[in-house]
């Protein structure tokens, strides 16, 4: 999306992730109110529009979240669904409103509660009208096949994949929002229960609940609100999965390659200039492939990039500084917004105990969305943001 004027992030919020007894609306409201307070917003009337990402919790989710904050009324609240991309897409739409002068201030929220409704012990799957789903397709299987092929082509092992979990959960160890953060041995990771060969339990994101919220606004509004550390939106891109039923290289990811390329072009920031990155690490293999897809390193060099420490503290780009989905778990509609919230906090140096040093200046985020036969993913949403003070 070409931004017609400068757009800034004023404030963000995120809940603790994990199994919650409170529903998505209260989670969403908590994150939204945090973001509102962090943005010094003092009346509901200042919010020009709000977008709410959710996947599984039913209808009028956004209005349910915002009515108790007094934001309903003349404010348009629009609900956004694109599976795992929903939360980031909600932020994208808020940015669009400000970028095109429709509003001075808008909000993007992602909220989801899976565990109140869902039986454990089964895997997420696309809708039953999809031909792959009818034939037993599940998201874990789709990623596992990418891992199988990657291992076949590169000689990588399960132990190599486990390095991703080890690295990201170490990042998330002191992050109070990330329930799965901590120190794991490679043995523990590969000995955990097999989910979809070669992906073991600790290589898969947990199914949890949570919410994230982002307030975006114009430059004038940044001044009016007295935001000391405005974060500038440098690029926001949404794409849809290219469809075909011909053989494709699943050790790549056509939609992520396309979207990141567009984001680099739009933001004028190249892959080597990204300091921190939250990506769609729903499964270990995904992160490894995305290093290459996003051109952090060359094709076939993902494993070397990881082993050389380029994806952790002191490396070229700290990947999953909050701990990633592997530490947070992945409430489908929430993750995209929560990633952006976490990146903003890193840029502002607010991550006590898990702050990347030196304090990063450039942050990128990436969520794909949905399995759909004939595509790698149904959607992809990416954001580039920078410190601007």
């Amino acid at each position: 999306m070409k931004l017609q004027r400068d757009v800034y992030i004023a404030g963000v919020g995120e809940t603790v992730f994990g199994k919650h007894k409170i529903d998505y609306d209260e989670l969403g409201r908590n994150a939204a109110f945090q973001a509102i307070k962090a943005s010094n917003i003092d009346s509901p009337g200042m919010i020009g529009s709000a977008y709410v990402g959710n996947a599984h919790n039913g209808i009028v989710t956004g209005q349910t979240i915002f009515k108790d904050l007094g934001v309903c009324g003349t404010t348009p609240i629009i609900n956004v669904e694109s599976a795992c991309s929903a939360g980031a897409m909600a932020v994208h739409l808020a940015i669009k409103d400000v970028a095109y002068g429709l509003t001075e201030l808008s909000m993007g929220v992602g909220a989801e509660n899976h565990t109140l409704r869902r039986k454990s012990g089964t895997a997420f799957m696309p809708a039953m009208n999809d031909i792959e789903t009818v034939h037993g397709g599940v998201m874990t299987g789709k990623y596992a096949m990418r891992a199988t092929r990657y291992m076949y082509e590169t000689g990588a092992t399960i132990e190599d994949l486990a390095l991703i979990t080890q690295k990201s959960r170490r990042h998330g160890k002191n992050n109070p929002h990330a329930p799965f953060g901590g120190d794991y041995t490679i043995q523990e990771i590969i000995d955990s229960r097999m989910i979809a060969y070669p992906l073991t339990l600790h290589q898969c994101c947990g199914i949890v609940d949570g919410a994230g919220a982002v307030v975006v606004c114009s430059k004038e509004m940044v001044k009016k609100l007295g935001i000391e550390k405005p974060v500038k939106v440098r690029g926001s891109v949404v794409t849809s999965g290219p469809y075909h039923n011909r053989p494709r290289d699943i050790t790549g990811d056509d939609i992520t390659e396309m979207t990141s390329e567009m984001l680099y072009e739009e933001s004028g920031i190249g892959p080597k200039d990204v300091d921190i990155l939250e990506l769609h690490d729903a499964f270990t293999i995904a992160e490894l492939l995305y290093y290459e897809c996003m051109q952090l390193c060359g094709k076939g060099e993902g494993l070397k990039f990881l082993r050389d420490g380029q994806a952790t503290y002191g490396g070229q780009c700290v990947v999953s500084p909050r701990g990633g989905m592997l530490s947070y778990g992945h409430p489908i509609g929430a993750s995209g917004a929560a990633q952006i919230a976490a990146n903003v906090k890193q840029l502002r140096g607010e991550c006590n105990g898990y702050q990347v040093e030196p304090i990063p200046k450039v942050a990128m985020s990436h969520v794909t969305g949905g399995g759909l036969s004939g595509t790698e993913h149904a959607a992809c949403t990416m954001h580039m943001i920078t410190a601007d003070w």
Binding site: A123, M125, P247, S373
Partner: protein, 142 residues
Amino acid sequence: MAEKKKVKKEKEPDITFYHPDLLAVPENEPPYLKGYKCKKCGQLDFPKVTPCANCWGEEFEMVPLSRKGTLYSFSDLYIGQPGLETPYICGYIDLPENVRIFAMLKGEVNTFKCNEEVELTTGPIRMNTDGLPITSYMFQKA
């Protein structure tokens, strides 16, 4: 007011075969998958996409697809969809017609390898709402 007659509607039986437009199982002959070639632009697709996603053509010629293909990748699934017995195996099969098929694989876990030859077969992919198996295409080692 006329009394409304309550007729108990017979429940229509659920499908036991998936799907005559995609799979043919002739008697005394091996099964085959049905590809669809767009009469306007020539693109061959499986499954049938109407209209043609390439040119929006609406007329197709049915082309039987090769029974043998290459297993591009696979996974042994230990946690699957609700209602499906585990483990089961799924894979991507590339056919010589430049089409990729997602299918369940018939065979044992820990036995498949990338790039090995597999062939079309049929088998139950799930139970229908009447508790009967639904037959569809599957692949097994050639």
